[in-house]
C-alpha cells in the first residue's frame, strides 16, 4: 500500500517537474510555465543560465526551507520543547554561512559573465536592420537598401481589443501578437539590430530570441540575433517598456526565412518600393 502510494507520488512529482522544466510552446495556457529555449544561439545560452540559477535556487531552497520546517516541527512548545537560551551565536557557523554563499555566487557568475561577453560581441554581422519605436508601432529599415516599412497591430486584433468590443479574443488568431508587416530576417545569419525611438522609450522583445533591448529616443542601441538555420518560421513578442496608452498593442512579429527565400523577398520588396517611387514621380499629386 505504502509502496504504491510512494510510487504514484514519485510519478506525480515527475510529471509536475517535467511540466515545470518543459519549454513552453504549448498552446494551452496552463503549460506556459517556463522561459522558451528559443531559436537563436544566444537564447539557448540564456535559457541554460536561467535553468542553472533556477536549480541553484531549488537546492538552496530545499536546504533553507528544510531547516525552517525541521525547526518548526521539532521545537514546538506544545510538544514540550524547552528553549536553549544559552545559544547566542557561533562564529564558526556564521563564517561558514557567509563563505559558502560567496562560493556559490562565484559558480554562478563565471558562466553568466561568459554569456554576457558573447552577447556584447556584435562583430561580423552580415545584415543591419534599424528598428525605430513609435507610439505605437515599429519601423524596420534594411540599411543599405531602400527597403523599409512600418509594422502595426493586425486589423482583426485591433478591432477585438477595443473596450467592450464584443469580439471574443479567443476567436482571433494570435490575438494581440499579429501585425500587418512582420520583420523578415534570414536564418543562419548574424543580424545586427540598431534600436532607437522617435517619441518615448520602447523595448523590442521576442522571447524566442532570448533578448530584449530598449529603443530610446536620441540613442542607438545594438543587439544581434542569429536564428538557427533550421528554425525558420514566425516568432512573436511585444513592446516591453511602458510607452503610453497603447503600450500593450504594439507587437513584434518576425518571419525567419531561409537565406534564399530572404534574398528573393528582399528583391521583390526592393522592386515594389522602386515601382512605388516611380509611380509617385510620374504622378506627383499622389504623394
Amino acid at each position: 500500500m505504502i509502496r504504491t502510494m510512494y510510487k504514484s507520488g514519485t510519478a506525480l512529482a515527475a510529471v509536475l517537474l517535467a511540466q515545470f522544466v518543459a519549454p513552453a510552446h504549448a498552446a494551452s495556457g496552463w503549460g506556459e510555465l517556463n522561459m522558451p529555449v528559443g531559436v537563436t544561439e544566444l537564447s539557448k545560452k540564456i535559457y541554460g543560465l536561467h535553468m542553472m540559477i533556477f536549480w541553484w535556487c531549488v537546492a538552496i531552497g530545499v536546504f533553507v526551507f528544510g531547516w525552517m520546517i525541521w525547526a518548526m516541527v521539532s521545537f514546538r512548545r506544545s510538544k514540550g520543547a524547552v528553549a536553549n537560551t544559552a545559544m547566542l551565536h557561533s562564529t564558526k557557523a556564521e563564517i561558514i554561512w557567509t563563505l559558502i554563499p560567496v562560493g556559490i555566487l562565484v559558480l554562478m557568475t563565471v558562466p553568466a559573465a561568459r554569456v554576457l561577453i558573447d552577447i556584447e560581441d556584435a562583430r561580423n554581422t552580415e545584415l543591419t536592420i534599424k528598428v525605430t519605436g513609435y507610439q505605437w508601432k515599429w519601423q524596420y529599415e534594411y540599411l543599405g537598401t531602400d527597403v523599409g516599412f512600418y509594422s502595426t497591430l493586425a486589423h482583426e486584433s485591433n478591432a477585438a481589443r477595443q473596450l467592450q468590443s464584443g469580439i471574443d479574443p479567443r476567436s482571433v488568431p494570435n490575438y494581440l501578437l499579429d501585425v500587418d508587416n512582420p520583420l523578415v530576417v534570414p536564418a543562419g545569419t548574424k543580424v545586427r539590430l540598431l534600436l532607437t525611438a522617435q517619441d518615448v522609450i520602447h523595448s523590442w522583445w521576442v522571447p524566442d530570441f532570448g533578448m530584449k533591448k530598449d529603443a530610446i529616443p536620441g540613442l542607438v542601441n545594438e543587439m544581434w540575433i542569429k536564428v538557427d538555420a533550421d528554425k525558420t518560421g514566425r516568432y512573436r513578442g511585444q513592446c516591453a517598456e511602458l510607452c503610453g496608452r497603447d503600450h500593450g498593442f504594439m507587437p513584434v512579429v518576425v518571419d525567419v526565412m531561409s537565406k534564399e527565400d530572404f534574398e528573393s523577398w528582399l528583391a521583390a520588396r526592393k522592386a515594389a518600393q522602386q515601382q512605388a517611387a516611380l509611380a509617385a514621380n510620374r504622378n506627383p499629386s499622389i504623394s
Binding site: 495556457g29 535556487c57 531552497g61 547566542l88 551565536h89 556564521e94 477595443q162 494581440l176 496608452r245
Partner: protein, 535 residues
C-alpha cells in the same frame, strides 16, 4: 488635602493632553502621531488596494472589459505611488514613532514638533496625488518610475504629482532626522548602541538611507518639472539631454528605497521570532553588521533595474556582481533566524505566523532577485511579469506581512487589550494562501513572455491571469479583517498584561499596558535595562 492636590498635579503631568481635534492636529506625542501614521497608512493601503483590484479585474480575462488603457496605466502607476509612499513608508514611520521611544527608554521623540509637521504634510501630499484622478488628462499614467519622455506627456496631473512627491520626500526626511536624533541622543543611560533592539537598529540605518536618497528623488523630479515647463533639456535628447540619465538618478534613489521598505521588516522579524521561540536572537551582532552591509550595498547596485538600456560590458558586470553580493548578508539574516528557531520552544501566535510566512516568502522573493541579477537572464526577465512577481513577493509577504505581524505583536501593548487571536489566525491563513495564488502564477506569466503594465494580453496568458486575479480578490477582501480585528479589540478585547507575550523582551514590555501617554518620564534603571535588553 495637600496630598490629594499633589497626586492630581502629578497625574496631570503624566497624562495631560488636549481633547477633541486639538489632541490630534496639534499633537506632539509620539504615540498619537504614531497612531495617525498607522491609520493613514491603513487608509492608503485600502485605496491602493482598490486600484490593484481594478487592475486585476481588467486582467481577469483577455479583451478590454472595464477600463480604457490610459486609465489602466493610471491605476498601475497610482497603485505603486500610493502603496509605496502612502501605505508602506508611513506604516514604518508610525511603528517607529510608537516603538522607538519605548524601546530605548525615552519619554518621546527628540523633535516632537517636527514629528507633528512630518505627519501633517502627508494628508496634503496625498490630496494632491489623489486629486490627479479628477483633472483633465487623468492621473499620472507613465508608471511610478516617471521615466521621461513618457512622463512628460502627462496633462495637468504632472505638476501635482511632482509636488506631491516633493512633499512626501520632505515628510520622510523630517521623520528620518527625528529617528536619528532620537536614537543618538535619547537612549537611556547604559543602553549602548550594541544593546539596542534590532527594530531600532534597522530603523536607524533606514533613516540614514532616507536622508541620503530622498533629496536625490526630489532633484530628479525637479529636473523633470523644469524640462516640462521651463525649457531645460536634462532628459530631452532633442536638446542634448539624456533620457537614460533620469533612470540612473531615479534608481540611485529607487534601490535604497527598496531597502527603506524592507530593513525595518528585518527588525520586526528579529523581535518576533525570538519572542515566540523563547530564546534570544541568534547572532545579534552579525545581524547588525549584515543590516549595515545591506544598507551600504544598496547604494551601488541601482543599475540592475535598467540592464536593458544599453550599458558598457564592464558596467553590467559590476552591477551584476554587486547585486549578487547582497544575497550574502541577506543570507546571514535568514540563517540567523533559522538558528534562532532551532532548539527553541516555539508557539504559533498570529505575530509568529506572519513572521514565519515572511521567512518563507521573502526567501522566494530573494531567489527571484538572485535570478534577476544574472544579466543575460535578466534580458529575458526585465519588464516582464517575472519582475512583478519578484517585487511583490518582497513587498507584500515581505514588508506588509512584517507590518501586520508588528501590529499583532505590539497591539496589546498599545491599547492594553488582547485581540481575537483565532480571528487573526484566520486572517493569517487567508492572507498567506491568497498571496501565493495571487503572485506565484505571475512568475509563469513573465517567463512565458507576458510584459508588465499591459491592460490586455494574448490568449495563452489567460489561465494564469485568471488564477492571479482570483488570488487578488481573495487577498484584498481578507485584509478587511485587519481593521475589524483592531476595532473589535478596542471595543471588547480582554485586558492584556504588561508583558503580553511570555517570551517578549525589550523595554517596551517593562511599561504597563496600555503604555502611558509619555513613555519613560524617568529613565529605566540599570536592572530594568538588563532585563529588557536581553536579545
Amino acid at each position: 488635602m495637600a496630598t490629594h492636590t499633589h497626586t492630581a498635579a502629578a497625574h496631570d503631568d503624566h497624562d495631560h493632553k488636549p481633547h477633541g481635534w486639538r489632541r490630534w492636529v496639534f499633537s506632539t506625542n509620539h504615540k498619537d502621531i504614531g497612531t495617525m501614521y498607522l491609520v493613514f497608512a491603513c487608509t492608503m493601503f485600502f485605496v491602493g488596494g482598490t486600484m490593484a483590484l481594478i487592475v486585476r479585474a481588467e486582467l481577469f480575462q483577455p479583451g478590454l472589459q472595464f477600463v480604457d488603457p490610459q486609465f489602466f496605466n493610471s491605476m498601475t502607476s497610482m497603485h505603486a505611488l500610493v502603496m509605496i509612499f502612502g501605505a508602506i513608508m508611513p506604516a514604518w514611520v508610525g511603528l517607529a514613532n510608537w516603538l522607538i521611544p519605548m524601546q530605548i527608554g525615552a519619554p518621546d521623540m527628540a523633535l516632537p514638533r517636527l514629528n507633528n509637521l512630518s505627519f501633517w504634510i502627508l494628508p496634503f501630499a496625498f490630496m494632491l496625488l489623489l486629486g490627479t484622478l479628477f483633472v483633465p488628462g487623468g492621473a499620472p499614467a507613465g508608471g511610478w518610475t516617471m521615466y521621461p519622455p513618457l512622463a512628460l506627456q502627462a496633462g495637468d496631473s504632472f505638476p501635482m504629482m511632482i509636488f506631491a512627491v516633493h512633499l512626501m520626500g520632505i515628510s520622510s526626511v523630517l521623520g528620518a532626522i527625528n529617528v536619528v536624533v532620537t536614537v543618538m541622543n535619547m537612549r537611556a543611560p547604559g543602553l549602548n548602541l550594541l544593546r539596542m533592539p534590532l527594530f531600532v537598529w534597522t530603523w536607524l540605518i533606514t533613516a540614514y538611507l532616507l536622508v541620503a536618497v530622498m533629496p536625490v528623488l526630489a532633484g530628479a523630479v525637479t529636473m523633470l518639472l523644469t524640462d516640462h515647463y521651463f525649457g531645460t533639456s536634462f532628459f530631452a535628447a532633442s536638446g542634448g539631454g539624456d533620457p537614460v540619465m533620469f533612470q540612473h538618478i531615479f534608481w540611485f534613489f529607487g534601490h535604497p528605497e527598496v531597502y527603506i521598505m524592507i530593513l525595518p521588516a528585518f527588525g520586526v522579524v528579529s523581535e518576533i521570532i525570538p519572542a515566540f521561540s523563547r530564546k534570544p536572537l541568534f547572532g545579534y551582532e552579525s545581524m547588525v553588521y549584515a543590516t549595515a552591509a545591506i544598507g551600504f550595498l544598496s547604494f551601488i547596485v541601482w543599475a540592475h533595474h535598467m540592464f536593458t538600456v544599453g550599458m558598457p560590458l564592464a558596467g553590467q558586470l559590476f552591477f551584476m556582481l554587486a547585486t549578487m553580493l547582497i544575497s550574502v548578508p541577506t543570507g546571514v539574516k535568514i540563517f540567523n533566524w533559522c538558528a534562532t528557531m532551532t532548539k527553541g520552544s516555539l508557539s504559533f501566535e498570529p505575530p509568529m505566523l506572519f513572521a514565519i510566512a515572511f521567512l518563507f516568502l521573502f526567501t522566494i522573493g530573494g531567489f527571484s532577485g538572485l535570478m534577476l541579477a544574472i544579466v543575460p537572464a535578466d534580458f529575458q526577465y526585465q519588464d516582464s511579469y517575472f519582475v512583478v512577481a519578484h517585487f511583490h513577493y518582497v513587498l507584500v509577504p515581505g514588508s506588509l506581512f512584517a507590518i501586520i505581524g508588528a501590529v499583532y505583536y505590539w497591539l496589546p501593548k498599545w491599547v492594553g487589550r488582547m485581540y481575537d487571536q483565532k480571528l487573526a489566525t484566520v486572517h493569517f491563513w487567508l492572507s498567506a494562501i491568497f498571496v501565493n495564488v495571487l503572485f506565484f502564477p505571475q512568475h509563469f506569466l513573465g517567463l512565458a513572455g507576458m510584459p508588465r503594465r499591459i491592460p490586455d494580453y494574448a490568449t495563452q496568458f489567460a489561465d494564469w491571469n485568471m488564477v492571479s486575479s482570483i488570488g487578488a480578490f481573495g487577498f484584498g477582501f481578507s485584509q478587511l479583517l485587519l481593521p475589524f480585528i483592531i476595532i473589535k479589540c478596542l471595543r471588547s478585547g480582554a485586558p492584556a498584561p504588561a508583558r503580553a507575550w511570555d517570551g517578549a523582551h525589550g523595554l517596551e514590555w517593562e511599561l504597563p499596558s496600555p503604555a502611558p501617554f509619555h513613555s519613560w518620564e524617568v529613565p529605566p534603571s540599570a536592572a530594568v535595562i538588563e532585563r529588557g535588553a536581553e536579545h
